[in-house]
Symmetry: C2
Subunit: 345 residues, 2 copies
């Protein structure tokens, strides 16, 4: 096969001229171009917002979830949820490396890798769905996928189980960005703190804000609030719903003496939490939206609507060193690793 | 009437507990609470993305545009386009000031103001549509609107016509943010450079990037490219479509010796331009999305999908001093003012 575009545009079927991510449909023929990598897929880690949507649509029935997933892939050539627009990631074994890439990358046939690009742009074929682990959004399949030349990946570390590494790598962008954004002395507010990305962000926030800073977590369930306090990940926990902005504002005012947060990090997996994030942040502060359920217009117009001068950042799933930074959180924090092993491995 | 919530939650009809912007429907009864302001509306400046959508849906027929606008307001109590999620702004005369605000704000009955909060959260009643100026997305009406206590506004300046000020204030956030983000020596790439916000951003970018910087504009039509070069607003102009990312990348590479842009500012009024913005920006660079047609997931997953470490900012319509900064662009640049007068006044 010839050499394809490094970004994978050669596989876009419709609409023409766009990249594989925004494309409606891509070509999932499992014969690789000279600069592609073929992967035997073991496990899909469906993006939390996407999996939640599919569960709701199917009433949580496993047979129907499987059917919906097969339907998405057969329609689009990729697991790109048409409602949430999001994907997820996968773990698999390298089956074949295109000849233009051989010797140029640090991979060989047989290596176990996690792809760090979204499933929403990854050519995928599912032959069979073997097991659905609903609590952790993971689905074991028999299938294959293709990685483009620009696609990033991580070799799976040998000091932790595969499912654990996968859970962490799925949300690697969030703790890595937190590490870059939080400065000593900052008041940091993390919404959805009890989830996967939330807990990793708490760890980085506490490390970076230091003793002069303050880390406030917000959990939805009592269980997650309790867990976080026991882990010592947050200085203060707030329990409530991020879909109720005025209530969130009041609670954040209380625990910050009315000062509000320098940085708010949104890690929830449900829509309509933009306003709570904006209201909880001080003027000239920063809101980092990692949640894929964020609406661009709701954020832009919401901030304007209340005359709030905050910088709002779209959570880029990638930032340099994100795989290393996030896996390292678990190495630094054995208690957190224990919780992750219990919950996600 | 009693005192309402400063953010206007007392007017939210459904869903309960949210703010007026994300609300589906708000109460547009034109009797004010003690901390609200009643405005007699002269002109609506419909957000460009919203107006373009309505024009397309109605085939551009003026009667049908009017009907669609009335329908939106009667359904939602505000001019909140259900497809684009965006609003616009308005100009009117202060009719009544709630008693809690009297003497506390710099407004009196009879003052002419532009509201600087989105129409997507402003209680509005349209009694009659008087004139639709399709080329500039402005609609004269007989109607009334309400401003909440947290709502921001600008008194109309007396050194320029009302429609001109309105056109500038509508997009005030963009040049003000450009002024804050661009540093001397930066290579700045502005997509949708020929539009209202685009031209204002070009002026600020050139001023801030200085002689050591480089300002590259991208226009869609030949006319707008020519106009910008004549105005001396950009160092280089690229003509093309921002929906074709690979083509845009090639052109930006050419004019930057492969270095790409430090900052890309997206001012288009159409969807599917996220990838062009991301591809044109260098690693560690910054993408500022002012366009309301931006999709959060397309940006987040698109950047991740090609492993690009860029910071992506959601264009907050408000930033401190934005009205002053944007109106001042026209005072600083008489040639640009002439063009604005011809096009938008
Ligand atoms: N930007 C990117 O590149 C990228 C990449 C991967 C994932 N994501 C997104 O990141 C988000 C989080 O992912 P995750 O895997 O960390 O999710 P997760 O483990 O499922 O955690 C979600 C958290 O949201 C909380 N939550 C749910 N409803 C809430 C409410 N009404 N108020 C406050 N909190 C609420 C839950 O709290 P309780 O535990 O207390 O119930 C839970 O802890 C998702 O939206 C996902 O799509 C983004
Ligand atoms: N974030 C906020 O708070 C906020 C507030 C107000 C407005 N906005 C948004 O800002 C955006 C711009 O508003 P505006 O009033 O400046 O719009 P505008 O005057 O209508 O300009 C839009 C520009 O987009 C260009 N364009 C159209 N299709 C294109 C394509 N395929 N490739 C490249 N360029 C293309 C047009 O180029 P030509 O002139 O060459 O045809 C035009 O110059 C809109 O999306 C609006 O919704 C945001």
């Amino acid at each position: 096969m010839p050499k394809g575009c490094k970004y994978g545009t050669h596989r876009v079927i419709e609409p023409k001229g766009v990249l594989p991510q925004p494309a409606w449909k891509i070509d999932n023929t499992m014969e690789i171009y000279d600069n592609e990598i073929l992967i035997d897929v073991h496990t899909l880690n469906i993006d939390s917002a996407s999996f939640t949507q599919i569960e709701q649509e199917t009433g949580g029935d496993e047979g129907k979830i499987a059917q919906k997933m097969l339907e998405i892939v057969s329609q689009r050539g990729k697991h790109h949820n048409p409602v949430t627009g999001s994907g997820g990631m996968l773990v698999g074994t390298v089956r074949e490396i295109g000849k233009d890439l051989q010797g140029k990358i640090d991979l060989k046939v047989g290596d176990k890798i996690a792809t760090l690009v979204s499933l929403s742009l990854t050519p995928l074929v599912i032959n069979r769905i073997k097991e659905i682990r609903k609590e952790i959004d993971q689905v074991d399949i028999d299938g294959q996928a293709i990685l483009f030349e620009s696609g990033i990946y991580a070799k799976l570390p040998d000091d932790m189980p595969e499912t654990l590494a996968l859970a962490v790598l799925d949300v690697a962008g969030a703790p890595a960005q937190t590490a870059k954004l939080v400065k000593p002395g900052d008041t940091v507010f993390i919404i959805g703190a009890g989830g996967k990305s939330g807990m990793l962000c708490l760890h980085e926030a506490k490390k970076r804000a230091g003793v002069t800073g303050k880390v406030i977590g917000m959990g939805h369930s009592e269980a997650s609030c309790k867990r976080i306090l026991e882990l010592g990940l947050a200085d203060v926990m707030i329990q409530g719903s991020a879909t109720e902005p005025v209530d969130v504002l009041k609670k954040v005012e209380e625990v910050t003496d009315g000062e509000l947060a320098d940085i708010t990090i949104n890690c929830v997996n449900i829509p309509n939490t933009e306003m709570a994030s904006i209201l909880a942040t001080k003027d000239k502060g920063l809101v980092y939206f990692f949640s894929m359920a964020t609406s661009f217009t709701a954020a832009a117009l919401g901030a304007e609507g209340i005359g709030k001068d905050v910088t709002m950042i779209i959570g880029n799933g990638y930032t340099k060193g994100h795989a290393e930074i996030s896996l390292n959180v678990l190495r630094e924090n054995p208690k957190l690793r224990e919780v992750f092993e219990k919950l996600y491995a």
